[in-house]
Symmetry: C2
Subunit: 197 residues, 2 copies
DNA sequence: AAATATATTGAACGACCATTCAATATAAAT
DNA sequence: ATTTATATTGAATGGTCGTTCAATATATTT
């Protein structure tokens, strides 16, 4: 009895608003007050749903990582054909994600990794699970003779380093042509590792 | 006439203190007030040397990038011997730098890259100049027949991606053994690119 | 010793913030 | 209609912050 709880709905709304404000002002300047202002509600309502500012941050991290993980919905393939592997690599080195989350907010969250144990392990967990997905894919492809590599684990590690290194550096590159050329170079290298030069 | 200026000395002291406070509290929580408190001076003295909070940030960025560039004091070599190239790669994939700057502060500064044009171009400039150093080294080595690669530029790009990707991910890895094993894998790959497997 | 430029302090202001608490509003259940 | 649990508001508190400004201190030059 009593009024129905809006907790889950409101929490999601608030976190989305928090993310929006962070995009606009930078995570370091995103405050409960600003989010409330943006949502046109009272600050204390936000506190009602998130006991503390830190809880709000946790919610944002969860949201960001959830978005991040969406990149890898390239699952359930059998990897019996070259084109499937090619598609997988294409996906990793594509920038569909640009629309999935804001780089500024993402790297600000990443920086928190060095100060907050919970955020750190959440990030680590996601990155490891994504690596597992690639490893599994490579194992299947290897078994099917689509590729021929010695260690799926090592190859996956290298491909991820190429990809994450690419996005680290390319985040600073404004020129569209430079960006695509450099990204193509690194993708080509990833394919070469799989004997798909 | 009048009193001698302490401007340069004090500015350096203040920036170093700012960096120290940022290490302790996180860049997002480092304030003029806290720095003044840490230095046991009046906040207004900091304002006297840095007109604005933003100027203080500029100083910190300069400091961080200066530290970062120190990694690459592997210059002036002739690259006529394999060992010199090997040493170069060893350096890139070593973690001497761990002592040069704090990861948390560094990536917080990196995140600012997405919001501040000046910081962005400063970062970009440094990263490009470091790439040029490697490209030059590879060109010499290639000319001397120490290595045999098709494009020094592309190879350098790939090696940097491997390295920067390595540090991005390894920043989340707590296990010493995992860390060294994964780093070794990536270094090995860099060497393989140079035909030095 | 006087003049002068810079160093340093200290107080004060206005802005913003997270959090608290009590009061009011609203919807569901009985 | 009353009860009840949750939603939402609004005001207030105490803290921190960047910045300003006037006052004082100190060192150098003449």
């Amino acid at each position: 009895m009593g009024r129905l709880s809006l907790k889950e709905t409101r929490q999601k709304e608030i976190i989305l608003a928090f993310y929006t404000v962070a995009k606009k002002t930078g995570l370091e300047n995103a405050s409960i007050a600003k989010v409330a202002d943006y949502m046109d509600i009272n600050p204390s309502l936000i506190v009602h749903y998130f006991k503390t500012r830190e809880a709000l941050f946790s919610g944002l991290i969860e949201f960001i990582l959830q978005q991040y993980s969406q990149i890898y919905k390239i699952n359930g393939q059998a990897y019996t054909r070259t084109s499937e592997v090619k598609k997988l690599i294409d996906n990793l080195f594509s920038r569909k994600w640009d629309n999935l989350f804001d780089d500024s907010v993402f790297y600000s969250c990443y920086a928190l990794t060095y100060r907050d144990k919970n955020i750190r392990s959440a990030f680590r967990l996601l990155h490891d699970s994504l690596r597992k997905l690639l490893i599994d894919a490579l194992k299947k492809a290897n078994k099917n003779g689509v590729i021929n590599i010695k260690s799926e684990k090592e190859t996956a590690e290298i491909i991820f380093a190429l990809m994450e290194g690419a996005y680290y550096y390319l985040g600073m590159v404004d020129s569209r042509t430079d960006y695509t050329r450099k990204l193509a170079t690194l993708k080509k290298q990833a394919l070469a590792l799989l004997g798909m030069g």
